[in-house]
Symmetry: C2
Subunit: 296 residues, 2 copies
């Protein structure tokens, strides 16, 4: 398969759906709408939505079953970036080659834009529309999955631990908690909800869960490596950011060499977890490799 064309086609499909899901607000809240749109359409890779669609496909369903969930995941991912960039959090000025949300709209509107995106994600999940093959119990399971992965027991907990670990001498357990929660939880959920909405068998769901776990961890280690060695023009943000902030990362704890090897190993394990799935899982195999080989 032509993987670049696949990624481009899927990203375009997601972008169109995201635009439909973005509410138009009246004059008193126009600034909020502008702030939400600014980050939602800032050129993200749409990795989480593409994973959800590909996972539904790997489980033998039309990817359309996962389109609302795919968009909800991108609304949530975008909110998390806006809040993470805030001065009180990571205090970052650049994201995807553009000034961060609070640099353009101010802190108050940036906080609210994040709140609005997060809340809208659950409106999208609850209202769909879904193809008739998707039952309301499946939708509730998808909402529970995403809420748990995005919340205090998942991403928000990871971000809290990440902030608290800054400038301290870190231990491997804390680093593992941060990686599996801050980024890993939502990536794993992206894969799992695609399968849940596809009505996957429990053995397929298990395989895809292992895939999602390995991929999530590989992704975050690759991110740590990119921050240390990447090209700022491709990344759209300054590099060596983690070191400057004394962040606890895989690279700071184990060194660059070991980090690269670990990301590669995890991506291979992710791919191996798909062994019993057929050709419908081909995009997920590419996505595992892409996760560690990307340059942005």
């Amino acid at each position: 398969m032509n993987f670049d064309a696949y990624l481009a086609e899927r990203a375009e499909r997601v972008d169109k759906a995201l635009a439909d899901y973005m509410p138009t607000l009246p004059a008193p809240a126009k600034e909020l709408e502008n702030a939400m749109r600014y980050s939602l359409f800032a050129g993200g890779k749409r990795l989480r939505p593409i994973l959800a669609l590909a996972s539904a496909e790997a489980a033998g369903a039309d990817p359309a079953v996962a389109l609302p969930a795919a968009c909800a995941l991108e609304f949530i991912h975008t909110y998390s970036l806006i809040h993470d960039d805030l001065p009180a959090m990571d205090n970052d000025d650049w994201r995807r080659g553009k000034p961060t949300n609070h640099k353009v709209f101010g802190e108050a509107q940036a906080i609210l834009a994040g709140d609005g995106l997060l809340t809208q994600a659950f409106h999208i999940l609850a209202t769909g529309p879904y193809p008739p093959s998707v039952g309301p119990e499946q939708i509730l399971a998808a909402i529970a999955e995403i809420a748990r992965a995005a919340g205090a027991e998942g991403m928000v907990g990871g971000q809290s631990a990440d902030i608290r670990a800054q400038g301290k001498s870190g231990d491997p357990e804390t680093l593992y908690y941060i990686h599996t929660h801050k980024t890993g939880a939502l990536l794993k959920a992206s894969v799992r909800v695609g399968a849940l909405l596809a009505g996957a068998s429990s053995s397929t769901l298990s395989s895809l869960t292992v895939y999602g776990e390995k991929l999530g961890l590989a992704f975050q280690i690759a991110d740590d490596v990119l921050d240390s060695t990447g090209d700022p023009r491709l990344l759209g943000k300054p590099v060596k950011n983690d070191a400057g902030k004394q962040k606890l990362t895989y690279v700071t704890l184990y060194g660059l060499e070991k980090a690269r090897a670990e990301a590669k190993r995890l991506a291979e394990e992710a791919e191996a977890a798909l062994m019993e799935l057929g050709p419908g899982a081909e995009p997920l195999r590419y996505l595992a490799r892409f996760t560690v080989e990307r340059n942005h």
Copy 2:
């Protein structure tokens, strides 16, 4: 009925359920858990949960059908207070007689505590548990209702408009938008989801919707009046806060006399909307009066 005893009994029931819904987090995220608990159990009146339970009762159901939604509404209300109090927003130091969340835990953890509470609300809604009378389609309708009321088209939009209106000469349309969205939307949703989960007939739902709209507006005008004339010891925060911040409120736009009369008129209209409902709506009738007669 003994309304004070009713309020106390309901608040206690809600508090117990809230404690069950509050996740316990491992060491790396313990600070986040502490920050979430601090505001969730800071002595709120539990007005939104009590409205949801009372509305289910008014529609002829066991209030238990609305207990998860009632708790979700309080998680959302608590998150909104934490974010509204942030330095970048209203910059308030006191809330319910205690230092605000960011004063105790710092801005980063306060932002994340809000994010965690908001996300947990949707986990609660999706997972219940609900009595068997509540079907999955009803639960999805409740999630959609709450997400819309809490998000950019509701509360978050109202808060954004409120921030933007500060220090400017306000017009009645903007004030109406702020009141109906910032506070009104979630109060109205509290009443409506109780009815939705109770399986209310469309005529009962219509009556309760009018009740919720009038009550929401009455509540916010009463809040504006309390900020201007209330007792700071009872309120647990300084008064004349709105004037100091040049907030656009009903009192600043129309004066105290007219604001009091309008709140009273709206509460009466709310009560009148319940005309066709039986004795099960008695608590809602008391709640309408309580909304405008409360001193905190």
